[in-house]
């Protein structure tokens, strides 16, 4: 057992950022699932809402990407 305690904390922090990606996964799945359940109820209205679907997915996904960015910063910039 030897090494730098700061480096240890860095790697633990990088691992913890993966929780943020799980949150983004839940968010994107929620968007897609609700879109699908709405689309199956009224298929004729679904085609016009795909743009909204992608916008919603992009917003949900952005926060997961932020956690990935934090991981990258911890690994390579700190």
């Amino acid at each position: 057992m030897e090494g730098n305690i700061g480096e240890l904390g860095q790697y633990i922090g990088v691992g913890l950022t993966a929780i943020g990606m799980g949150g983004a996964a839940i968010g994107v799945g929620n968007v897609a699932g609700n879109f699908l359940s709405g689309a199956l109820r009224n298929p004729s209205a679904a085609a016009g809402q795909t743009a909204t679907l992608f916008i919603g997915m992009a917003f949900a996904e952005a926060l997961g990407i932020f956690s990935f960015l934090v991981a990258l910063l911890l690994m390579f910039a700190v």
Binding site: A51, F54, I55, M57, A58, A62, F66, F68, L69
Partner: protein, 250 residues
């Protein structure tokens, strides 16, 4: 950790090595005028777009060939996107949005070629694209609507008591836009390409090599989808921001 793996498996690359900016000729420092792999691939992307949109549509055939169909489809898609989201008065800004869409799509796809450099994986590149959108959209908003543009932050449909709170939230979300706009594209590109490289690294271990090669093929197919979707999302968000600038009332 990396050195251990290198010894055990002969893995000589790091998943993030593909994003290093290198000078094309010789070594040395990178100045602003140095031709690097970034400038090379930006030039390739620009030439590919010219080849597709100018040379491809040169025939002006009634029954289009493949290049002309792709050019017409992408033109029509962006045109319809702006019309649907930003409205008819947004069509004035069509050339700019079409340029953004073509640059991002073609550079995402070019980055998927083996040994290629993904231009859009650098936040420096996407940040400039997103900042340009942010600055020009804000300028359009103030020029078109004057002080009424600030209605975007002062939500008149909400009760008066919570309007200041909403105003703070709206201002923050407005200024986070260029950050999330740029990092979404760059982050997706970095993540996808790094995952492909990580799976490629596992191929050096004989026992898991078939699985890892299948995983690389699967991820590659997924990345082709992501390359298009991220360009689409970037363009559609530009349209949404443009709509906010042209019609700021909620």
């Amino acid at each position: 950790m990396a050195t251990e793996m290198e010894e055990a498996t002969g893995l000589t690359f790091h998943p993030m090595d593909q994003f290093i900016v290198k000078p094309l000729f010789g070594g040395g420092e990178v100045h602003w005028y140095t031709p690097t792999n970034v400038t090379l691939w930006m030039a390739v992307v620009a030439l590919a777009i010219i080849a597709l949109l100018v040379m491809g549509t040169r025939g002006r055939a009634i029954v289009p060939n493949r290049a002309q169909s792709v050019a017409e489809l992408s033109y029509g898609m962006v045109h319809k996107m702006i019309e649907d989201i930003a409205g008819k008065d947004g069509l004035k800004y069509f050339p700019y949005i079409m340029t953004l869409f073509m640059f991002i799509t073609v550079s995402n796809f070019a980055g998927l070629l083996p040994k290629a450099f993904t231009v859009t994986s650098h936040i420096a590149v996407t940040g400039v694209l997103a900042l340009a959108v942010f600055v020009s959209v804000t300028a359009i908003g103030f020029i078109k609507n004057g002080a009424h543009f600030l209605d975007l932050f002062w939500v008149r449909s909400a009760p008066l008591a919570i309007r200041p709170v909403l105003a703070v939230i709206e201002v923050i979300s407005y200024f986070v836009r260029p950050v999330s706009h740029s990092i979404r594209l760059a982050g997706n590109m970095i993540a996808g390409h790094a995952v492909i490289k990580v799976f490629a690294g596992f191929a050096a271990i004989a026992a898991v090599a078939p699985v890892s090669i299948l995983a690389v093929v699967g991820m590659y197919a997924f990345e082709i989808l992501v390359a298009f979707i991220q360009a689409y999302v970037f363009t559609i968000l530009t349209c949404v921001y443009l709509k906010d600038a042209l019609h700021p009332s909620h």
